[in-house]
């Protein structure tokens, strides 16, 4: 039995303690916004937040995150005050991704957005070197030029 707090909701899951968080999210809870890319924590497609820090969920067992705040891409946007929860406002990073037309196939972008959100929450004006060393996610479509542009726009906003 694992007790997981995901996007503010507590789930009691009858699963093995060593099941990677990714598969608990996707196969047990149907939260498919978090993607499977490599299974070894290399590509970053599965990035979620644990207490606000970026974590690669494919190589993080659920027992390592019990009782902690897990946020997935589905929980990144918050409902704007006075609006229905069904139409949450996009986060600044998500909006920048639209403004700069970042995604191509989009498959890696959940993880990319989670990684960038965590970086900017921690360091609102990262240097190029800090961006390069923090954002190591793979985008096979090569949307990197736009990712960089969007991060810089957010940093100077």
């Amino acid at each position: 039995m694992a007790t997981l707090k995901i996007n503010g909701t507590v789930y009691e899951l009858d699963i093995e303690p060593d099941m990677p968080l990714l598969w608990a999210l996707r196969d047990e809870l149907g939260l498919t916004g978090t993607k499977f890319g490599c299974g070894i924590g290399n590509c970053g497609a599965c990035t979620v937040h644990v207490n606000g820090a970026p974590v690669r969920s494919c190589s993080t067992p659920v027992n390592a995150v019990e009782g902690q705040e897990v946020t997935t891409i589905e929980g990144l946007s918050q409902p704007a005050p006075g609006t229905a929860a069904a139409t949450p406002a996009l986060s600044a990073v998500q909006q920048a991704w639209i403004d700069h037309q970042v995604p191509q196939c989009g498959y890696c972008q959940s993880g990319m957005i989670m990684a960038v959100s965590a970086l900017l929450a921690n360091n609102p004006s990262p240097s190029d070197a800090e961006i390069d060393s923090s954002i190591t996610n793979i985008c096979r479509c090569g949307a990197y030029t736009r990712i960089k542009r969007a991060i810089h726009a957010l940093a100077s906003a």
Partner: protein, 739 residues
């Protein structure tokens, strides 16, 4: 611009790794079938491609897969522009995977007149596919969607609809159609000030016979095409709501992890289940001809249990095959066989015999995997009513549907295909690369609930259909004045896209021949297909010739491109923008390359240095592209950026190695990718020549490798003739004096 109906039906021959489209959108029988198939409520179909409902809502059906190239938006823009639709009231839908939207009608149309396109002919030859099978494909590939579906289908469809709406309005007002105009989904009669919304006219318009001839706009009349409109698929891709094949989900879903025969083409002999069946959530071990799978109630459980299964595969004559043995085989074949003609002109042998100087060089590239971010997967549900539900990311919805139907042995109409986004395609999700599809179908057949079969990253990399490894040998001759008089090229085939090895350079004597080699490694289209390797070969060797002749590589290319003004212009734009020939900071060099592919001409200039460990570092890529005209300029830039990063990844790191008959690389650490830190600044210059529309998904990929290696030659004096660059040691290099 006038397009006649017959031309409209036939205008879709394809150069490349995919194909066509151009449905018989305004042909009466198709028109009626569209009505039968798609109409509902107050909606009336005007053509196969779009509908207008009474509320003025316009839906445009796009018969191509969205895999990041922005095709849904671009194609809808083309139809909406000709229709003079209000873009805010346009929705885009994926066309259903039914034969109405197949490519086959078109294939039939031009097959009689022009013969089958090379791409299809190649498929027919190498995988025993019949022409009848090809008729039921719905392919996205060959950088063809805008060029053929857009120009031959979407625009005429929109224009035809507009003509019909005008006719209805004119009839109802009792005025000549020529006095009417359209804008923002309305028909206006200017002199009387009357207007009617398209939605009010749609029902009456649907009763008209679609026109046989339609007039298309001139570019100066465009209202949407040429504008950088936001892509409609992007919002769902920033909040996790976009669904890919791998996201198919239901509470009763089962998951399969699979181990395929590691040596291609071998069969499963025996299975030792070990403790697998005793593991939590594991339901069954499924043995297939070439693989064994574990089915469980969670993919991780399936994968973990699969690791406990022992599987023996038959011995194979390829058990000792390695990349080295394959390359040795290529060299033997090239040495012993003069192959078959690809292109020849003049008399190469005489020119070589009379040469003042000759140059020889041998080039080689390795196999490459596609490595789309979404690992290959397929979900099939054999429903109690005998029908099937199918979810998979594919570049050919209809073809996949047909394949699953044949593997499952059910009528194709009993397969319900659910459209999903693709987490990358790059050729891996084209037809005839069926491995995960067949396996998923056979596994799911044993269950009454949906079963999702997922390749691990290792499966995805080791069970791909690869960009072929290719060897290419060159000889060239100079006369006493330093003119290149002969171009002699022998390379290993098969040719997948004709023309990629042809050169635009004015060399009087050419002999380009292909020697087909047969290996057990499965091959398929990989972004830009043959152009990815041939451009590296050609643009490197021409650079060698320039240096040998003591000429500036840019100047020599410009001279030899004298018969191709479009190439000259593109090269000039790129070279000028990059400052080719100007002084650079110490330790940096520029290299350039050019190639025409899929109807677009692309030149790239790479600015390169070596880092403190003597590894190549690409700082900046300046690209000029002539794709005729742009539909969505922002998408053009994005595709060029993407193509360059894709090609650069292959140049720097890309190598699939065969050892003991199987693929050695397993995951990204072995098959590295360009990441944010290694991405160069990319500058894109679009040349609007007004020529026929060129493709965009692929043409930016081919030139980047030679642009980088040509710069490395200037930096180090080392000529790179084999890829990838990670295998080269540049620590001993000496810069080459600039010419």
């Amino acid at each position: 611009m006038k397009i006649n109906r017959r031309r409209f039906l036939l205008a879709s021959a394809v150069a490349g790794g995919g194909l066509l489209i151009g449905y018989a959108a305004t042909r009466p029988s198709k028109h009626r079938r569209a009505n039968d198939t798609l109409a509902s409520g107050s909606e009336r179909y005007l053509t196969s491609f779009l509908k207008i409902d009474a509320n003025n809502q316009i839906t445009i059906y796009v018969p191509h897969a969205e895999m990041g190239q922005g095709i849904h938006t671009s194609l809808a823009m083309m139809a909406a522009d000709e229709l003079d639709a209000n873009w805010e009231q346009v929705t885009i839908e994926q066309a259903p995977a039914i034969d109405l939207f197949a490519n086959g009608e078109l294939v039939k149309g031009f097959a009689g007149e022009l013969g089958l396109p090379g791409f299809l002919t190649g498929l027919v030859n190498f995988s025993a596919v019949t022409v009848a099978q090809i008729m039921n494909l719905q392919i996205t590939g060959g950088s063809s969607s805008v060029r053929f579906t857009g120009e031959g289908g979407m625009r005429p469809a929109g224009a035809a609809a507009r003509q019909m709406l005008i006719q209805c309005a004119a009839d109802s007002w009792g005025v000549p159609a020529s006095e009417c105009s359209t804008a923002l989904s309305q028909v206006h009669h200017n002199s009387s000030g009357r207007s009617l919304a398209y939605g009010e006219l749609a029902s009456a318009a649907a009763e008209l016979e679609p026109p046989a001839d339609v007039s298309l706009k001139n570019p100066d009349q465009f209202t949407l095409m040429g504008r950088p409109l936001p892509r409609r698929d992007i919002p769902a891709k920033v909040d996790g709501s976009a669904l890919y094949g791998i996201d198919a989900h239901s509470d009763d879903m089962l998951y399969a992890a699979i181990r395929l025969a590691p040596v291609f083409g071998t069969r499963l002999v025996s299975v030792d289940p070990g403790e697998a069946l005793n593991q939590r959530g594991v339901l069954r071990i499924v043995e297939l001809e070439d693989s064994v799978a574990v089915v469980a109630d969670n993919f991780w459980r399936a994968k973990r249990a699969l690791a406990m299964v022992g599987a023996r595969f038959e011995a194979s004559e390829y058990d000792d095959t390695s990349s080295d043995s394959l390359y040795a085989h290529f060299d033997e074949q090239l040495a012993s066989d003069d192959g078959s003609k690809d292109f020849e002109t003049g008399d190469v042998n005489s020119a070589l015999a009379a040469a003042d100087d000759t140059v020889e060089a041998g080039y080689r590239v390795p196999y490459l995997a596609h490595a789309a971010m979404e690992p290959m997967n397929c979900t099939v549900h054999f429903r109690p009513d005998g029908k099937l539900d199918l979810w998979t990311s594919t570049q050919d919805a209809l073809g996949i549907k047909g394949r699953v139907a044949s593997v499952a042995d059910v009528p194709i109409d009993d397969v319900n295909f659910h459209h999903v986004y693709l987490g990358g395609g790059f050729g891996r999700r084209l037809p005839f690369t069926w491995n995960v599809i067949d396996h998923a179908t056979l596994i799911a057949k044993e269950f009454a609930v949906p079963v999702k079969t997922v390749f691990s990253r290792e499966d995805d990399m080791q069970q791909d259909y690869y960009r072929p490894a290719v060897a290419s040998n060159f000889r060239a001759a100079f006369d006493a004045q330093g003119n290149v008089t002969a171009w002699h090229n022998r390379f290993t085939g098969p040719i997948q896209v004709p023309g990629a090895a042809h050169i635009p350079y004015a060399i009087p004597n050419q002999s380009i021949r292909v020697v087909d080699v047969d290996t057990h490694v499965p091959i398929a289209s990989w972004r830009s297909v043959d152009h990815s390797q041939q451009t590296f070969f050609i643009e490197s060797f021409i650079d060698e010739l320039a240096h040998r002749a003591g000429k500036n590589p840019y100047q020599m290319r410009m001279e030899l491109l004298r018969d191709h003004p479009r190439h000259q212009h593109v090269l000039e734009v790129a070279a000028n923008a990059a400052g080719f020939g100007k002084n650079l900071p110490e330790g940096r060099a520029l290299g350039l390359a050019i190639q025409e592919s899929f109807g677009s001409v692309v030149a790239e200039v790479a600015e390169v240095s070596l880092d403190e460990n003597f590894r190549p570092r690409v700082h900046k890529v300046t690209c000029a592209i002539d794709c005729g005209r742009t539909i969505n300029p922002d998408t053009v830039e994005a595709q060029v950026e993407s193509g360059i990063v894709f090609g650069l990844t292959a140049a720097l790191y890309g190598e699939i190695t065969v050892e003991k008959g199987r693929v050695a690389e397993g995951n990204f650490p072995d098959y590295e990718m360009v990441r944010l830190a290694t991405t160069p600044e990319i500058q894109v210059h679009v040349v609007e020549s007004g020529e026929a529309l060129g493709g965009l998904g692929e043409p930016a990929t081919p030139p980047i490798t030679a642009a980088v290696t040509n710069a490395l030659y200037v930096l180090t004096g080392q000529r790179v003739r084999q890829l990838p660059l990670k295998n080269h040691d540049f620590s001993q290099g000496t810069p080459v004096a600039r010419v």
